[in-house]
Amino acid sequence: MKEVELKMLDRAKALLESGEVARVVGWKKGDFCFDPAPAVFETVEELDGFVYDWFCGANLSKYLIQIAKKEGKTAVFLKPCDTYSFNQLVKEHRIDREKVYVIAVECLAKLDVEKMKAKGVSMIESVEVVDKEVRVKTAYGEETLSKPEVILTKCETCQKTHQAKDEEIIVHERPERDVNRFAEVEKLEAMTEDERFAFWRNELSKCIRCNACRNVCPACSCVKCVFDNPASGIAAKANDDKFEEQLFHIIRAFHVAGRCTDCGECSRVCPQNIPLHLLNRKFIKDIDGLYGEFQAGETTEGKTPLTSFTEGDVEPKDVFQGEAK
């Protein structure tokens, strides 16, 4: 990953120096080796803190809604999954494509420090990834973890490729893999109604309504969210009743249906680790099954499944009988 970072840094420097772009959006070093934060770099000096490592999981595309409005061109580093969100935002006219210079960067899955800590690793000092091994140095000693077990949930089933790029930085070829991203959804579908209800009740009861899932979501780009609008009649800041959690998550999932690119940020940011991506994936799976395969963010044009129709669409009652197929 270090050689990728150096290449990125070179490009960022060159772009800023030549004045081709006014700023670069990337990640900057944190206090540890595992907490880089999204950042905007406007000068070459600021690039001292630049970093691209195994923990740069954050999707930078949503920041562009605000940042790209500024004067001049903005360069941004986007991982494969981020480019879908970017395209979707361009499609919805939230970002002016002309004002952004996209540098597509490689990603061989990002690590989830919470999963590492859950394996008993704490006081992490440095992390090195060699093939499928994660070698961790801690104050308590050295440990080796299996990489597939500690990558972000969103990376587990990712097969995405760059959909938007003005240039590309790829050093390592990503190995091909065959995964079914709907496996978890299918598992839930196979349960009885009661079991499904119990599953979601248990998970959603942890929700603290911090709105992190909404605020990080690139598809949630409304200027004023209906849940923040006191005039909407449903604005609520906390869970007063279990209904509130359900209402929030159902409506949120529905609002992004057909536009959700499955970037998985919602699950990454949830402080209570609620598998929120399983809500969105149900919609994706249903849409694929009922109206033909559709991947939001693949292009910047065309209609989404919920803004189009065919005369022969399936009737809602048949969706029930066939369990969504």
Partner: protein
Amino acid sequence: MYRIAKENLNQLYAKINETMGLFIPVKRAGEVNYAVWGEGKEVSLETLKTVKSPKNMFFPQTENMMKFKTDGKNIEVIDVREQWDERRPFVMFGVKACDYKAIEVLDKVFLGDPVDSYYKMRREATTIVTLACSRPEESCFCGVFGIDATAPQGDVTTWLDAEYLYWQANTEKGEALTEKVQDLLEAGGETEVEAQQTATKTVMEKLPFANLDLSKFKPENLNELFDSKEWESMSEACLGCGTCTFVCPTCQCFDIRDFKTNEGVIRYRCWDSCMYSDFTLMAHGNSRTTQMQRFRQRFMHKLVYYPSQYDGTYSCVGCGRCVNKCPQNLNIVKVIKTLGGKDND
């Protein structure tokens, strides 16, 4: 000092639960949070940091304040405090040193004038059993605020090792609780506790945030800090979610709202977050219109406004929850490092 074997802890919980409620870290759907104990619940004392702090025992995320029942032109006001069963005594078990200190921070707000009777009623009915830390992690920095994680205060202090839970009563309330569970306790443990404390302290000294410099955060520097140019870049990546405020043990802001039922209205309060765009929304609009201003408000309150109101006590206790949970890895440590003083470099 007393001790109780780890395998007997469930008996201890059951014994306490006979006469009092028990509020304890419980694992649910993979995450550990404080909850009311019951037979069969998976208690996890070993968890260093519950996702939410125990503050919701006294200051729940939502609580009904009063109800209005309407019947034609008559409105009946119902004081919900009269129906409370939470008045029964409660034991809050396993509170870490930082969270205990946080309760003191909240006490100053809620028990000072004007007294918050909702908070007070619960606070007074609760016996707090604290638990010393033995395996702090990199995000901990309670020492910076003068907290000794190996010897928390509280009505009873406990220590946990591989075999035993050690028990020491500190107050009258603590003595009363000890008496109730006396049958399950046996004397001993001083040497083990001391050994654990020494071992933990060596680790604490090596924590990466052990020496944060707070010297700049003084009331007299208020304007200088407020006007700092750094806020802009520090808050750039802030999503404006409420994670930091809702996992924070000292955040105390709330909103009061009405909910219409079929029969009338419920007036409730719920946690609010200064990170939200509708925080302190008034008829004229909002006093803070950008995320930078909201971000600044949160940290200025923790490190400058609160201390200037309450004799220099910071309203951060260094629990590190925001360090772990911020989706984009922004947190109070980064603010302290940037603005706190020259020893931070």
